[in-house]
């Protein structure tokens, strides 16, 4: 593309990142502010970080939330990738039927879906439990992975698969060596989105978690009457720091790994 166009795009890209990270900066800033309400006056203090690690119940809830998100994300990515692969073999008319159903969990308002699921689980006898919370989150997150991974198949070049078969690779080997690398960007986007959605899916967790068990969204939403203390900001700053470190490490690792496995 022409040089000037590239520069314009670069400027817009930088602007978008500024917009995305401005509130993050505010969150981090407010986590060091002694005054609970509003920005001014700003007195620097670690008070909220001490509060977070001593009195606040946010940490155990965060760990449970992260565990739930990771396990749901992993299972969804596996099931989603497999069925996106399966969709390639199904004739069009079955697909026309499967496609809208796979997007159903996004269309039904989550509030109603979680209450209906709760009644369903009560009827089945499991009631509020980890299992019901797990499946509740799984079903809401599955469409994201399906959409992202199936998207990769949309107009992909399928001949390397035939080439691999000709060279003697059995169907599973073909998947591992050819199809999986091709799907990977879709899988990563799907995994990130599902992690993101599951980490914030309040309705699904509020109605399905066993009594007394609280994930981070429940812990935060039920603060509705009392209000939020900046220990939430402190927690958020730590989460942001850790996720940025992981992302940078992965990129570094990813990059150098390329040389190793290249």
């Amino acid at each position: 593309m022409s040089k000037s166009f590239n520069r314009v795009i670069k400027v817009i890209m930088v602007l978008t990142y500024v917009i995305i990270f401005l509130p993050i900066a505010v969150i981090i800033l407010m986590s060091f502010n002694n005054n609970e309400y509003g920005m001014m006056p700003f007195e620097f203090s670690f008070k909220w970080y001490q509060y977070l690690f001593t009195k606040s119940e946010l940490l155990p809830a965060t760990i449970l939330s992260l565990k739930l998100a990771v396990s749901v994300c992993l299972v969804t990515v596996i099931i989603g990738t497999i069925s996106a692969l399966g969709m390639q073999y199904l004739p069009r008319k079955i697909l026309m039927f499967f496609q809208p159903i796979s997007q159903l969990p996004i269309i039904i308002p989550w509030l109603v879906q979680s209450i209906a699921l709760l009644l369903l689980f009560n009827f089945v006898g499991i009631g509020r439990s980890y299992v019901s919370m797990f499946f509740g989150n799984l079903i809401v997150v599955l469409p994201y992975v399906l959409m992202m991974v199936a998207g990769r198949f949309a107009d992909a070049d399928r001949t390397p698969e035939d080439a691999a078969r000709m060279l003697g690779a059995k169907p599973f080997k073909v998947f591992v060596d050819v199809i999986f690398p091709m799907l990977l960007p879709g899988i990563i986007s799907g995994a990130l989105m599902s992690f993101m959605v599951c980490f914030n899916a309040f309705c699904m967790q509020y109605y399905l978690a066993p009594f007394g068990i609280r994930t981070l969204p429940i812990e935060i939403y039920t603060l509705v009457k009392v209000g939020y203390k900046p220990d939430l900001n402190a927690l958020a700053s730590i989460l942001i720091l850790m996720s940025t470190l992981i992302v940078l490490a992965l990129n570094k690792l990813g990059y150098s790994a390329k040389k190793l496995f290249g």
Binding site: D157, P160, A163, R165, M166, G168, D177, P181, G262
Partner: protein, 350 residues
């Protein structure tokens, strides 16, 4: 190595019959071309041989073993695809070594075989390159090396050169043929380019709408086509309507405004004929000569060593091909006299 036998293959997708009773045999080490317009079913034959498609009926035998129902990965057949189908996420070396890794060969053996393959296709020293950063010709050679390195019984090539530019294509035609003979592998080559088929093959099968038109060596196929389609498909032939007449002992084909003697093969007086005469078979002179026909020149198309002369023979439009030196003499609009030798006038009774 091994021979390939194909017995009356039939295949239809839905209600459109793609292959109709296809049978042929490829001797050990021979190079067979499947030639025909796109959509004539030649690629489907290839996909049935390598197991990516299953025929409705008929059989495929390699060294007498029936592999029709065998799944693709168990057939040990090498294949080079039209768009090369290299693995984008692997380097050249990994691409070529892939088949060997599947066959659980030792690291040393893989290294040795890959080097042999790279030398075979003149790509030594490029093993760590990314496939996406290579030219079409180089990618094609990697695909060939990848197919050959597993020492397959049969090598299949699906229009491998169609994506290359003119100059590299003729180079690759020579190189593939050369490698094939050096390795001595039975090969089936699919193409729609008649020049490629003629230069590379031991034998050619011409296919049209799922039916074998003709199977013969390149020379006979070119010079003695058995049908109007065959003659027109291989080398541009002039197809003219005429009527069979006989005056005394020699037979003639009488078109509107011209008459040419021909060697009698079949048909009776008055039959409607399709006469096929190649442009280069006319003898051309500026002055009239023994029963030559008059030809008015309308256009000359110069294409390097040869030159095409377009014009009117009686009422019919005819295209002559001659070496550029001769073409110099004829002027546009002028009259010249042409006469094809009897043996080169082919005719088919309608």
């Amino acid at each position: 190595m091994s021979n390939l036998i194909v017995n009356n293959l039939n295949k239809s997708f839905g209600d459109n019959k793609v292959l109709d009773n296809i049978s042929f045999k490829v001797e050990d080490g021979k190079f067979l071309s499947l030639l025909g317009p796109s959509g004539c079913g030649k690629t489907t034959i290839l996909r049935i041989i390598n197991g990516l498609e299953y025929p409705d009926s008929g059989a495929v035998l390699v060294n007498g073993k029936d592999i029709t129902k065998l799944s693709a990965e168990k057939r040990n057949i090498g294949m080079v695809f039209q768009n090369y189908a290299l693995f984008p996420n692997m380097t050249i070396e990994k691409n070529i070594a892939y088949g060997l890794k599947l066959r659980k060969k030792s690291k040393a053996e893989i290294k040795e075989k890959v080097d042999w393959a790279l030398k075979l296709v003149h790509l030594e020293g490029m093993e760590h390159r990314k496939t996406t950063m290579m030219s079409g010709g180089q990618q094609q050679r990697v695909a060939l090396a990848r197919a050959l390195v597993i020492e397959p019984d049969i090598l299949l090539l699906d229009e491998p050169l169609s994506a290359l530019d003119r100059k590299i294509r003729s180079e690759m035609q020579y190189e593939i043929r050369n490698i094939q003979q050096k390795v001595g592998i039975t090969t089936v080559f699919v193409t729609h380019d008649q020049e490629e088929a003629l230069t590379m093959s031991d034998e050619i099968i011409l296919i049209n709408k799922g039916i074998i038109e003709q199977q013969s060596d390149p020379w006979n196929l070119y010079n003695h086509p058995v049908s109007a389609f065959a003659s027109d498909f291989l080398g541009k032939a002039n197809l003219l309507d005429a009527e069979l007449i006989n005056n005394g002992d020699n037979w003639l084909a009488k078109g509107n405004g011209w008459v040419f003697p021909l060697e009698y093969k079949s048909g009776k007086v008055g039959d409607k004929l399709t006469v096929a005469i190649r442009g280069e078979h006319f003898t051309i002179r500026l002055e009239p000569f023994e029963n030559a026909q008059e030809f008015t020149v309308s256009k000359k198309i110069f294409s390097g060593p040869t030159c095409k002369i377009m014009g009117k023979l009686g009422e019919d439009k005819v295209e002559l091909t001659c070496i550029s030196l001769d073409a110099e003499k004829c002027e546009i609009g002028g009259k010249i006299y042409i006469m094809p030798p009897k043996v080169n006038v082919l005719y088919f009774v309608k």
